[in-house]
Symmetry: C2
Subunit: 522 residues, 2 copies
């Protein structure tokens, strides 16, 4: 059977746009001879709509959009698509919905399967809006018995329900999983390793595109019954590909799943992170109607990496980097910022902080003679300057914080913690260096050596150097965060992180909506 894997990029609540994208993908599939087209989880409403699902007028509109999609696909091959349906169950303060897969054919939904395993960990809160589905039977498509799973249903290990086994017992000859699985480092390996013994052919279609914190990587795939990879779609972009399930192998990269893990030739973890972050920035801008971005270019490695990502994501012409040297800045900071901006072709501005810094000192006198008050005021004046660019030219401020400094709170609220989108705030300091090294190798070394080789410094007082042994403390701090643990420094910074913008998630546990830790605690 010819099955089309159609990984498309929807936008939350853009129902007409999402339906149009689905139809376009089906048209491509038809041209490829599809007998069954598979679209990702929640492709009609976009994912994750979260509490918009409490708005009845929205869910009604999703039902209508799904109906509209079915109608428009009347003459097309059977198409499996993710949407929401009414469960018919009513609980207090609960929308009573299913996270559903509908099989559209002949103008109607001929079959509905509802997600059985609803994740409630990390960035997932699905029990808030969805009811767990009952077991579904395989559905016959083009003479084959097809079992339908939705995302977590396939990750049943440890649950007391086992949707894949249930479907196989019920006679499924082919398993299809529609997913909206967010990117984390190494997630492709995890997925393929988990599915290495499917027992029957398996088609896995994953959402692509970013929405706020979450970056969906696509990389949909099909496996034969032995776990051989029949096809693997590209990551971080839309793609439509048809595969003869049960047919020969058409892998477009060298994959081998073994009991020991996965080997992928040319698999580069830094490239993967870079592509993820680029998509995160691009989609945040595009889906919110933002064309431009502003960032402060300090002369350090963090802002250098953000500048590179922004230039590729938005186009160099849409990025403005501003260097704001103060009396404590090394002259090489501004010089290397200018070099980087020229190498990237982005706009570059220099605003000297001194006059404003001095005016603030004149005004506030004793308040600013020493300590954090004296240091922080510089970071905050910089944020004012950057936001003046944003307010004047439009666009968004990109934050340039890394995860290690956010973890311990070595950062200034309303200063360097400002910014609507935080592209590298889920990367530890060593991870930022690793990404910078990859950029140097693959992008013609745009980052001046000074930025990479200098000791990290906030440059907020004379000869200041960050008081951390980053290679040593970063992994230790990161381990605490990953394990939902903390130390005094982490706890004391909680109130500052509460104010952060949208942090692009690339680790298993990022700061943001997936980590719900109180400020007030002992």
């Amino acid at each position: 059977m010819k099955v089309t894997l159609a990984q498309v990029n929807p936008t939350v609540a853009d129902l007409a746009g999402n339906v149009a994208r689905c139809i376009e993908a089906v048209e491509t599939a038809v041209a490829q001879g599809a007998e069954l087209v598979v679209l990702p989880e929640m492709v009609v409403p976009g994912y994750p709509p979260r509490d918009i699902l409490f708005d009845n007028s929205f869910t009604e509109a999703v039902f209508e959009a799904t109906h509209d999609l079915a109608t428009q696909l009347r003459g097309a091959p059977p198409t499996l698509a993710g949407t929401v349906t009414a469960s018919g169950q009513h609980l207090p303060h609960h929308p009573g919905l299913y996270n559903a897969a509908v099989l559209l054919h002949g103008g109607t939904a001929q079959f509905v399967a509802a997600k059985r395993l609803l994740p409630t960990y990390d960035v997932f809160y699905e029990a808030r809006w969805f009811m767990p589905g009952s077991p579904s039977s395989p559905v016959t498509v083009a003479g084959h018995r097809v079992g339908v799973l939705i995302c977590e249903d396939l990750w049943d290990k440890g649950y007391n329900q086992h949707p894949p086994a249930d479907l196989l017992e019920a006679g499924a000859e082919l398993l299809i999983s529609i997913s909206a699985s967010p990117y984390r480092r190494g997630t492709l390996t995890q997925r393929l390793y988990h599915m290495r013994r499917p027992q029957c052919p398996l088609v896995y279609v994953n959402l692509v595109g970013a929405n706020d914190e979450l970056i969906f990587d696509g990389r949909s795939f099909a496996l034969n019954a032995d776990g051989e990879v029949l096809t693997l779609l590209p990551g971080f972009e839309e793609a439509v590909q048809t595969v003869e399930v049960g047919g020969g192998r058409i892998a477009n990269c060298e994959l081998r799943i073994t009991d020991y893990g996965l080997r992928i030739t040319d698999y580069d973890p830094e490239e993967e992170v870079f592509q993820a972050l680029m998509l995160g920035v691009r989609d945040f801008a595009r889906k919110n109607g933002i064309r431009r971005a502003v960032l402060g270019l300090s002369g350090g490695v963090d802002s250098a990496v953000v500048a590179v990502i922004a230039a590729e994501a938005l186009g160099a012409a849409n990025v403005t980097a501003v260097a704001i040297p103060s009396r404590y800045s090394d002259p090489r900071s501004t010089g290397s910022a200018r070099e980087l901006a020229e190498a990237l072709g982005i706009h570059f501005e220099v605003v000297e902080l001194e006059s404003l810094h001095a005016a603030t000192e004149d005004l506030l006198g004793d308040l600013l003679t020493h300590g954090t008050a004296a240091e922080n005021v510089q970071a905050r004046l910089r944020a004012i300057i950057l936001m003046a660019f944003v307010n004047h030219y439009g666009g968004m401020l990109l934050n340039t914080s890394n995860k290690t400094e956010l973890t311990v709170g070595y950062s200034t609220l309303y200063g360097d913690m400002a910014g609507s989108l935080c592209p590298i705030a889920d990367l530890t300091k060593p991870e930022v260096y690793a990404l910078a090294a990859w950029i140097q190798t693959t992008r013609g070394a745009p980052i001046p050596a000074f930025m990479i080789e200098r000791p990290p410094s906030a440059e907020l007082k004379p000869d200041q150097v960050d008081p951390f042994d980053y290679p040593k403390i970063s992994p230790l701090l990161e381990q605490l965060v990953q394990e939902n643990r903390s130390n005094t420094a982490i706890r004391r910074a909680e109130h500052k992180r509460w104010h952060m913008g949208v942090i692009l998630k690339v680790s298993e546990k990022a700061f943001g909506t997936g980590r719900m830790i109180p400020i007030t605690r002992r």
Copy 2:
């Protein structure tokens, strides 16, 4: 039977402190002749611990603290307390805990009931950490069959399980509900009305105290089988009171629950909100080890109300109000700010913005000639000045935004949106005026008439007046928010609200963790 209602104020993760508070309450109960002492839901770990529950070392410590409490209460009357217990069930990425009530007596937990109905709406995400409990049988205490419920268990209308009916069927002669029910306007009326026909005596013990956004109001009560109020404990403070259940009526205020609602003599909704916000500010400070607060006093009604709340919550000597007039400020703004500060006895400082404003214009020139850039820079410079006070003297910045301006985004990011704690950000503009009027009546009119009578203005350009008919738009906007709906203005402000500090919740739907709406959407 003599039952003691012990509403205590725990702190999240302060296990030793919480155990000590429980023991103190039991000692008071013993002096009152208690045969059964009832403490609130989750009193041992504090509530809500949220994702700290994913940290095994924390849950182990809670188990030990509960054991410790049992041991220390060896000679005391039976004591019912809220804590977490292991369910013995294991799901992937789930702590597998029960939100439990344990009956401690003779040094051990003689009985455990687990919460059956786990709320997942608004600020509740309990399915993330807890497993639903199975039905429990009544437990015999002092010869009486006692049925134990935990918070939502009592609010079973619409659920497909009915814990109160199950317990009555199983022979309960007395129902006890331990709760951690956050304050919202009118919540006492709702609770009493809901429970107006208990069918047997009912004891309701609610947590008191604030933790981040949530303010628990206490106001525990006991009803006889006819729904008559036997006792009602005070709101917003710790209290321990013993009542003869089944005995005579000892109501300390005039309560009458009818099918049409509740009448309480001297029940003042503004007083209730004021007490709630005061507790919210006081506990945020106390539990985080913060003594001082700084706020900007603009000459408008919002900051005036925050100043009054702060002075009562923290003590006038711990509050610093700063007036930062600009070239556009009405001289009466600063004059009335000074008057208010003097009336309250709080510190008062005036910092003239002009020199810094002019220096910023000199530096940024064309960027600041008009529009939002020119306006916003003033709000941001003010935040810098306020944060200089915070950094120099210690303490926290109190935000003075109201809910209406936050709803439409009439506010400046990193400017007047700054502040760790937002005391009135869940009050619409008319609600702020209503609270101001109540303050005038009950506190000797500390707020100068100018602040209340002037047309609302951000004073960011000449003769500027807020472009809203607040009495008209505020309720309409508020209705949209309450219904999880939106309009263009609400959606466009989503990215700004993402950065807000902790908003004290007093409505059914506040901005904050109870409202999980994506920024990126159509």
